[in-house]
Symmetry: C2
Subunit: 341 residues, 2 copies
Amino acid sequence: MTGIDDVARAAGVSAATVSRALSGRGRISDATRARVRAAAADLGYVVSAAASALATGRAANIGVVVPLLDRWFFANVLDGIASRLTPRGYDMTLYSMSMDRAQRDGVLDVSLRRGRVDGLIVLSLTLADDEVDRLLALDLPVVGLGSTNRRLPALRIDDVAVARLATEHLLALGHRRIAHLGAGYPGDPGLDIPSLRRHGFDAAMADAGIRDSRFVATDFTIDGGYRAARALLREAEPPTAIFAASDELAFGALFAARDEGRDVPRDLSVIGVDGHEMSDFFGLTTIAQFPHEQGERAADAVLAAVDGRTELGELSFRLVERTSTSAPHGGLAEKSGAPAP
Amino acid sequence: MTGIDDVARAAGVSAATVSRALSGRGRISDATRARVRAAAADLGYVVSAAASALATGRAANIGVVVPLLDRWFFANVLDGIASRLTPRGYDMTLYSMSMDRAQRDGVLDVSLRRGRVDGLIVLSLTLADDEVDRLLALDLPVVGLGSTNRRLPALRIDDVAVARLATEHLLALGHRRIAHLGAGYPGDPGLDIPSLRRHGFDAAMADAGIRDSRFVATDFTIDGGYRAARALLREAEPPTAIFAASDELAFGALFAARDEGRDVPRDLSVIGVDGHEMSDFFGLTTIAQFPHEQGERAADAVLAAVDGRTELGELSFRLVERTSTSAPHGGLAEKSGAPAP
DNA sequence: CTGAAAGCGCTTACAG
DNA sequence: CTGAAAGCGCTTACAG
């Protein structure tokens, strides 16, 4: 590998000068800088990550803690993060926090303590309290995204408002028997995303004077949504509308409706959350959020944090109406307000 | 940060001994090793990645070059890779090769030359010839996966056989008017995956004595499949079956059939390639491959390559029949061989 | 503006 | 089996 001394020799200067010319730090004459850069480009020299990291204490690398790596939402966030990190010379190292206890411990107690990263973006939804402690003890700038825990500095969406918006959309259409598909974590303080969405749902229903709302906890997968919705549709008095806490859950509900012979939206309205790339094909009404942009903002935020600045804030969302929601079939009597279309 | 000297002091030995005790390299007494490890655990000491990399020349990190980061297939491969790397103490750094020329150059000429990784897994489908040159010039162990270029050592699936299997499935059902949805790269040597699949398709059709097969090039997305299939279905003599080169293309074809009022499989049979997590819900017949397992094998292969060993080989695939394929409607006359079911 | 030299935190021949 | 010391390839006060 060609090293800094090779470049110094080629440019007729010292290694110190090469370092200054390439990093842009310290004073150096324009002529020298140009000569050194030309020599470096010529030799295809690139500063060694390890040596530079050791000397400066900066790794030029951001760690991203991800939950399972295989969900659509996270793939898009990652792409957004990469798009902002690369141009600024940062690499991105992934740390997968699976369900396996030993694995999680390894990430928290070993991998992340190797000093390989300057900052962390945490995408993991479900961190135990002691895991948050250990994350914070790393003493690394951290930015949570979609984070469940209030103790983590994070970029957040107003999940209560998201759920309210979705529920009120259904209520405005005239639905009264509305079921919510989400998740429930035992022993949770109730401030995680699924809980917040459930709160928003409950609040909207309460405001509408409806007491008997249904909630079903399942996992955030198509299959989870499928099983939960299928069970609901087989009840004596099935809901006329489902508010699913994610688009993937909603897809499952759509497939369930199909397999139970229900027409959407005539027999069942379905609304999701995410703005999944496939939601348009399903005609799914959803509360869209923007994962790619969220990734970009998270990247900017960690980089700011690495420089000692704070750059957090709220993330945006938007109702996207499509064909999976309408007034309940034969339910005009239930509908207060606007006349049927 | 607690360093090696802190541990040495705590254990009453030298830094050299601590290093040996923790790395497992070099001879050391069991008692000393145990004492040192206890002290390290006690202090929460973890070897600095930068210092260790600089001293040994090994980064304990594998780079993964990915195309866009937002396709289902790659997300699963990544998960598979991570599952094998982490337990062996390796981290995984992602390098996104987008469509942007400057970005790709940055990855090849700068990021990957920083010495941050010991080996590379290349998932990128479309590398130009000079990009492969530069990749090879890195002088790093490389393992391609789903790789387009024959000059890259890679784990491969027999794409010609995959396409043959899919096409022959359709032929065996009695289809004659079969269209293939794939991709075409201009100026390509014809050994990339889409081309190989097309070759397999052509060969199977030729063997069946069919000369007028249709091929449509589009991009490997749901939307690409949707647009291509929709156009096909509007032709005067639409195909009775579509072989899509990926499940996402196939999903698009399924949505197109729906929007054109065609029943699947009565009016149109559709077969894909991948075994996408949603294919089951769509009832999509497909040639399944196993991305998670492929990721695991790729990880094992780079790690072997880092140690100077070669561990490549062929990847497996399997026909999974579901409800999107059947004999063509009213097409029994066309069917040669077995009687109708 | 530029160079010599110390130092970043480990690892590993080399001695013993 | 263990320690002292050189060295990995940079960066950055410190002089000049």
